[in-house]
């Protein structure tokens, strides 16, 4: 085919080896973070740590428990359950019809002070089996309406208690509509015991959530009357019963503040309570209690907290002891290589 042309020249062949210049730009930059060498403390759970941790917990917890128990013991509490007794005998079989009737619901109770109660004495009502935390109930309110007069017709979230004859209700919603309406009047030795019903709600609620220019409108004037009526001349920010009630309780059993008695009560003093038993808890078998209680720095009478602290503290002490025993009975030298898996299962070597 083609002629054979050997040639002496060796040109034309080969290009310089393309040894590209070192591209160090890709070299990762050194930093302790990227190299995962950040200084770190690596605590390990030595027996000493374990025991001291448990001891420490019990040292902290037991005193707290004791202190809380004492605080709780200091609290004097008078509880009076009245929902049955305040129904006349002949209505006892049909309490619902009694509560829905127009009968006189006044009822008198006698409370005996067991221990000296220092003022202020808080008056609570406690309801039971009342699902204030039910979603349908909780949602049925309009915060914007409560706060601001200008949005008084913002009742979209209040169904089914949003309007009455086409007029928006203020305050709307099931919560407000079902406002607790039992009233208590206290007298001691035939003297009226004043119940201070101011400042029983959160200040922030009065100041910011319930407007002082918002007045009740069309409230409880529908066909169904739920609970308490409100004085349309008093702004919501001063309707403290409502404000307290609107703070829905977390559980079906709850206490709400009714007022304060700003006077010390002595042991064996007998308080006469004249109460209007208006609120219907009978349809759902709810209990009603009237509670008079002092508070400690920790709040109300709450033995459980102290007991819990003591229990956990005791448990920790016990754990500390048992670990001490374990470490003594079956000591393991820390970092003892004979516990490494390959030394424990001699099959490995």
């Amino acid at each position: 085919m083609s002629s054979n042309t050997p040639s002496s020249s060796a040109g034309g062949v080969g290009s310089a080896d393309s040894s590209a210049p070192r591209r160090n730009s890709k070299r990762p930059k050194y930093s302790k973070f990227t190299q995962q060498e950040l200084p770190a403390c690596k605590p390990i759970l030595t027996p000493r740590w374990v025991i001291s941790a448990f001891i420490l917990v019990s040292i902290v917890f037991i005193p707290i428990g004791v202190v809380s128990l004492f605080a709780s013991q200091d609290v004097v509490e008078i509880i009076d359950r009245y929902e049955t007794e305040c129904v006349p005998q002949d209505f006892r079989n049909n309490k619902v019809s009694f509560i829905q009737s127009d009968a006189n619901k006044t009822c008198t109770r006698r409370l005996t002070v067991t221990k000296r109660m220092k003022q202020p004495i808080y008056v609570y009502y406690q309801l039971d089996n009342f699902y204030q935390n039910h979603r349908r109930y909780v949602k049925s309110r309009s915060d914007s309406q409560l706060k601001d007069n200008s949005s008084w017709n913002d009742v979209s979230s209040c169904k089914p208690e949003d309007d009455s004859n086409g007029q928006p209700i203020v305050p709307c919603g099931l919560i407000a509509w079902s406002l607790f309406n039992d009233t208590y009047n206290f007298s001691l030795n035939n003297q009226q015991l004043a119940v201070n019903k101011t400042e029983i709600s959160w200040k922030s609620d009065r100041d910011s959530k319930f407007g002082n220019d918002v007045f009740p409108r069309n409230f409880q004037n529908g066909t169904l009357i739920g609970g308490k009526s409100l004085d349309p001349t008093v702004p919501l920010s001063e309707q403290e019963d409502l404000i307290v009630w609107m703070r829905t309780a977390a559980l079906p059993t709850f206490r709400k503040l009714y007022g304060k008695i700003e006077r010390d009560l002595q042991p064996n003093e007998v308080i006469h309570v004249t109460l209007e038993n208006n609120y219907n808890t009978y349809s759902f078998n709810g209990k009603k209690k009237l509670v008079l209680s002092t508070t400690s720095w920790l709040g109300g009478k709450n033995d459980f907290l102290g007991i819990a602290y003591l229990t956990v503290g005791g448990l920790c002490f016990f754990l500390a002891l048992s670990f001490t025993v374990v470490y003594l009975v079956k000591p393991r030298r820390l970092g003892d290589p004979s516990y490494l898996s390959w030394n424990r299962n001699p099959g490995g070597q």
Partner: protein, 1182 residues
């Protein structure tokens, strides 16, 4: 050719006898034009292809998953393919209805965040792929633009029919028809490593009619039509013909240059573009890389299912409870106006209400399913991957390439690898040969004893096995990359260097030996003008190494003409260099079947010499009676070399009489020019006639250079309990050599070679193989010596049968019981099949590592694919999940990063489930107290906040936790076994964590409600409403969870401190800020912290009580576990903590060596075997 070229032209084809001749030409072309063979290419008229019917695909390639348009729909589809995301989508939609217990924003925001983040990650990864495609598409090649002018054009603009000029060391931009090359006879060499992994060059040859087209101007008026097959994935076939100058010529595969192969040893070629872009054979071969998920993630799905079931169950309970309440109690709850209830609360239709409540419940308890888990895991994995990318110790200084985690999905899988399947060339070895030793006339030259012998002896002299020294030897192995300045030559022996051989006895033989090295080859010298030395373009690196060696010994091959080889001999008796010319009479080149190469030359004295080099067994069979003088010594040396993993060849020669030669030559020429099927056989026979009665002169040992640090890395990986299978496309001998060099094989190891006999019927072959496998299994079973080790070596052909369904499990059994498995001559597909067999057969995690396109299948098939980057072809890297520049980085990648990532992810997921159970169940308990109405005790925004805030400490755990430092990981490879044994993510542990979560939820909820339900919680007499209780409970949760995670961690940097403390502090800040917002937004949470809770001691004492109580059980558990059943990392932490490793070095070293997994491969095992051997010898002597 009258133009009087200056360019040197060589008819390379004259060097070849066996290959390159089309075996059965003429068969092609018949089917052209029929179905499947419709492609028509108008050569040099690419404009013809701009419209139908000749419009073919463009040459740009795209490997991206999405396009700009499809990203949104396809990406969203992928995201919502996840069950959990779909569930959250459902929740988000339902949150727009009144059924939702939460505000719509608090449901939609986290979902949008999670999906958005995942999609951003997808987009980023796809963008990277896009950039890679762009890089390939914009590579330049010279394309004929008319009038004989060639211009550089981007690959993507190359069209079918274009004439391209490809230059040396360039890749072909598409599948080309070879027209001509710089060699007169149109031969060119291509490297197909990217296609099939074979390292030797392949010769391609142009059609004779197109040979004249070898200058740019020749293409001015070039026209032709190619009719050929349609695009298909078969790499080794091609059917088509070329119509040129009115005649039709058949084209066969030897004229086809495939995309992604590379032009070597050839200055330039011209070619016509036939298949472009995705039509090219290599692209047709590529498969979509499967998306891989790690074992942990798959198990996590099961946990999600468990949680879903829990969710369903509690939702059902909840709906049932709700329906019951609605039916029986609701009518009595006058305060809820049951008469006016809407459909969701209708006492008359409790079933409907119950069903609709199911939706509410599913949303409410949705916090059981950690929506933030996915996004946290993504974040953690991306950060972990960036640590891998940033690791300086995995950065290769030589190539400037850092390690790269190409997908971040599999980080933790790295910690659970059981079997590594490795490619050889380019992965274990550099594909560079160094001339290391030789044996001439029965005398061995070259540096003496091997490293292994050295190490064993050293150890024996010490009474106790001292790990430090072994370590020193092993590491010196890695560093002992003799800084030899000459590539391909690593010979140290003063007897031969610098002409000293002149003073050796048997100098005649030595001269002859070197002459054979310098003459018996097919390489071409090339003058490097800068240094003035010659480099060689050889077909195989071995040959190059021989020539370099010959040059260094003073026999410099510097010129090849068409018919002769000229060698300059530097050291002569006269002291002056002499050029000697050898007329090449015949070349019988190397093929894998012949395993030898012979040249017949006439030297200047007219003496005809036959020089032969080949595999020792082949040469020894062909020696004459008096040619065996050195056979005994040479054999001994060959065995030594073989043991050291060197590649050996024996050299022999014979002198021929003129008459003898010419008689044979006529015979040979007759065979050569014959046509037909028996041509090969005749040639073979002729060659056989000549290649006998040889005289052995010596042997060479060439080191197939291992990559830096490979033996040490294999040693460590073996100690970590990993198994290594080598799958190579190379031939068996080479593979065995490498086996020795890597210590996968050693003297005394029983090799079970499984080989099939070619000629038998399939049935018989299969039976035979099965018998061999069963024999192997039996031998292993019968073996009494506990130290006995076995190796299976199998070749591709046999493997094809062994991988068939009926036999593969037997084969796998055998493979699993052997210390090492080497498969040779395996095709890319077989690599993938073996990988699948191991993966599915053993059910354990496999990792495949390779560098070439032939490894792509295996890389995609394995649980984890690792590509070696730095070599030029990128296919393996593109298909891989991780890429490292060198095999040795695998050790750090697995033993350090893998181990850490595994533990981090495992702990993180466990903790997440704990956290969500602890949190989610409190919602459920609360339900029971609200008449199952679906009211949440927490504010909506707390929940959202929870998603973000409590995730940060977990993320810091997932990113930064270290049970032991990286040094310890490397020192105690045995700790790695915690991963493959899955100690940290077994059901026992997962259920334990879930139980812990359950306990925590009970403690948190009931302590809180008992404390708060009716009593005043402040000195001011106020009782807690739902918000106060919810907020206190949430505070308790925040504290408990954070204390819990602090107990879980063992490594605190400032970041962990910052996230944990930050999470707590931010919670209070959030409460304060949220409470300060207008009550329109914060609702009942207005001023909750500042006014109501913070001043109340009850709030703080409750927090303390609950937070501590929640963590007591876990604390007691870990203290107990650490005391009585410590795990390895506990002990090592303690040793480190008390600095015992510094004080008691002896113990530390002893434990390191004891902690190794029992292994039979690797350098250390080999040294130990050697020691046992020597010890038993000493016993015998005594």
């Amino acid at each position: 050719m009258a133009k009087g070229r200056i360019r040197r032209k060589l008819l390379k084809s004259h060097l070849y006898t066996f290959c390159l001749y089309p075996g059965a030409a003429g068969k092609a072309g018949q089917s052209v034009g029929g179905p499947g063979f419709s492609r028509i290419v108008h050569c040099n008229e690419p404009q013809m292809h701009s419209q139908k019917p000749f419009k073919y695909r463009a040459n740009d390639i795209s490997t991206t998953k999405y396009s700009f348009l499809s990203f949104l729909p396809k990406g969203l589809y992928e995201q919502f393919n996840r069950v959990a995301n779909l569930y959250f989508l459902g929740c988000a939609i339902a949150s727009l209805t009144p059924l939702s217990p939460f505000s719509a924003v608090s449901m939609i925001a986290p979902l949008a965040f999670v999906v958005g983040l995942s999609m951003a990650k997808e987009a980023l990864e796809d963008w990277r792929r896009f950039m890679q495609d762009m890089e390939v598409n914009s590579r330049k090649v010279k394309v004929h633009t008319g009038e004989g002018a060639f211009n550089k054009t981007a690959w993507q603009n190359v069209r079918v029919g274009d004439v391209v000029r490809v230059e040396k060391d360039q890749f072909f931009p598409s599948d080309l028809l070879l027209l001509s090359s710089n060699y007169e006879d149109g031969i060119c060499y291509v490297e197909t490593m990217n296609l099939d992994g074979e390292t030797n060059l392949k010769a391609k040859r142009a059609l004779e009619v197109t040979l004249d087209l070898d200058e740019d101007e020749d293409f001015k008026n070039f026209k032709g039509v190619i009719k050929c097959e349609d695009p298909n994935p078969s790499l080794y076939t091609f059917v088509g013909n070329l119509e040129y100058n009115g005649q039709v010529y058949a084209i066969d595969p030897s004229q086809i240059l495939l995309r992604d192969s590379k032009l070597r040893n050839t200055a330039f070629v011209y070619g016509i573009v036939i298949f472009t872009g995705h039509d090219s054979k290599v692209m047709q071969n590529s498969t979509k890389s499967p998306s891989k998920r790690s074992r942990i993630e798959r198990k996590m799905d099961y946990i999600i299912y468990v949680l879903f079931s829990v969710l369903l169950v509690i939702s059902l309970i909840s709906s049932f409870g709700f329906a019951v309440e609605i039916k029986y109690n609701m009518p009595e709850w006058w305060f809820m106006r049951p008469q006016q209830a809407d459909e969701y609360y209708n006492p008359n239709e409790p079933v409907t209400s119950g069903i609709s409540h199911m939706v509410t419940a599913l949303m409410l308890y949705g916090y059981l399913i950690p929506i933030s888990l996915y996004v946290s895991i993504e974040v953690v994995k991306v950060l972990q991957a960036s640590f891998i990318n940033q690791d300086i110790l995995m950065y290769d200084e030589d190539t400037g390439i850092p390690a790269q985690a190409r997908t971040s999905n599999l980080n933790e899988e790295l910690g659970q690898v059981d079997t590594i399947l490795s490619d050889k060339t380019g992965t274990l070895t550099c594909n560079q040969m160094d001339f290391l030793k030789c044996s001439i006339a029965g005398t061995a030259y070259g540096s003496s004893s091997s490293d292994i012998e050295l190490a064993a002896e050293q150890q024996l002299t010490n009474d106790h096995v001292n790990k430090v020294e072994l370590e020193a030897v092993v590491s010196s192995l890695g560093e002992k990359d003799h800084k030899s300045p000459i590539k391909g030559f690593n010979f140290e022996d003063s007897h031969l260097m610098k002409g000293n051989w002149l003073r050796e006895p048997k100098v005649e033989d030595i001269i002859l030996f070197f002459r054979i090295l310098a003459v018996c080859h097919t390489a071409i010298p090339e003058l490097n003008e800068e240094t003035g030395t010659y480099t060689y373009e050889a077909e195989s690196p071995d040959e190059g190494a021989f020539l370099v060696a010959a040059r260094e010994f003073g026999f410099e091959f510097f010129q090849r003409t068409q018919s002769s080889v000229i060698v300059r001999e530097k050291y002569t008796a006269s002291g002056k260099p002499i050029d000697r010319e050898y007329k090449i009479l015949n070349v019988l080149e190397f093929t894998s079947k012949r395993k030898r190469m012979t040249v017949i030359v006439r030297d200047e004295d007219g003496q005809i010499l036959l020089m032969c080099k080949g595999a020792d067994s082949i040469i020894f069979d062909r020696l004459s009676k008096d040619g065996r003088l050195y056979q005994a010594d040479t054999t001994r040396h060959l065995n030594e070399y073989g043991e050291a993993g060197l590649r050996t060849l024996a050299l022999a020669y014979k002198k021929l009489e003129e008459s003898e030669y010419s008689a044979w030559n006529t015979e040979f020429q007759k065979a050569k020019t014959s046509i037909g099927a028996d041509r090969d056989i005749m040639l073979e026979k002729a060659a056989e006639m000549m290649e006998r009665d040889l005289i052995l002169i010596g042997a060479t040992a060439v080191e197939d250079k291992l990559q830096k640090g490979v033996p040490k890395c294999i040693d460590k990986l073996a100690q970590a309990g990993l198994k290594l299978w080598v799958l190579t496309g190379d031939k068996m001998e080479t593979a065995i050599n490498i086996g020795y060099a890597c210590s996968l094989l050693r003297q005394g190891m029983k090799q079970i070679c499984i080989q099939a006999n070619d000629s038998d019927s399939i049935e018989k072959i299969k039976g035979d193989i099965l018998k061999q496998i069963n024999n192997g299994l039996q031998t292993i079973k019968d073996e009494k010596d506990p130290y006995a080790a076995f190796a299976v070596i199998i070749d591709g052909k046999t493997l094809a049968y062994a991988l068939e369904d009926d036999m593969k499990h037997r084969f796998l059994d055998l493979g699993v019981q052997c210390a090492s498995v080497i498969c040779c001559r395996v095709s890319p597909k077989q690599k993938a099949l073996v990988t699948r067999l191991v993966k599915e057969g053993t059910g354990k995690t496999t990792l495949a590592i390779g560098d070439g396109a032939n490894d792509v299948g295996m890389i995609q098939e394995a649980d984890i694919g690792v590509g070696i980057s730095g070599v030029e072809g990128m296919q393996a890297v593109m298909a891989s999940d991780f890429s490292v520049a060198q095999f040795r980085f695998l050790e750090r990648l697995l033993v350090v990063h893998g181990h850490w990532c595994y533990k981090r992810i495992a702990q993180m997921i466990c903790y997440f489930f704990y956290k969500n159970i602890a949190f989610g169940l409190t919602l459920f308990y609360f339900e029971a107290f609200t008449g199952f109405s679906g009211q949440s005790v927490y504010d909506d925004w707390y929940m959202l906040f929870n998603v973000v805030l409590t995730s940060l400490p977990v993320i810091s755990l997932g990113v930064l936790e270290q049970d032991v430092s990286s040094e310890v990981c490397l020192e105690f490879p045995a700790i790695y076994q915690q991963g493959p044994r899955n100690l940290f993510f077994d059901w026992y542990r997962i259920l334990g964590w879930m139980g812990n979560g359950l306990l925590a939820s009970l403690i948190i909820f009931f302590l809180n409600i008992v404390i708060f339900y009716n009593q005043a919680f402040r000195i001011g007499g106020q009782t807690a409403d739902m918000t106060a209780l919810g907020t206190t409970m949430f505070t308790c949760i925040i504290w408990s969870l954070n204390i819990q995670i602090a107990l879980t961690m063992s490594h605190f940097t400032w970041i962990q401190h910052a996230t944990i403390w930050g999470s707590i502090v931010t919670w209070y800040l959030f409460l304060a800020v949220y409470g300060a917002l207008s009550p329109d937004i914060s609702g009942n949470a207005y001023q909750i912290l500042v006014e109501a809770l913070a001043p109340a001691p009850m709030y703080w004492t409750t927090t303390l009580l609950v937070a501590i109580t929640c963590n007591l059980p876990y604390m007691a558990h870990i203290a107990y576990q650490r005391c009585l059943e410590p795990m390895d990392h506990h002990i090592i932490q303690e040793i480190k903590y008390y600095r015992k490793d510094v004080e008691d070095q002896h113990m530390w070293n002893r434990e390191q060596s004891k902690g190794r997994q029992k292994t039979k491969i690797g350098f250390t095992a080999r040294v130990e075997a050697k020691i046992r051997l020597l010890q038993s010898k000493m016993h015998k002597k005594q």
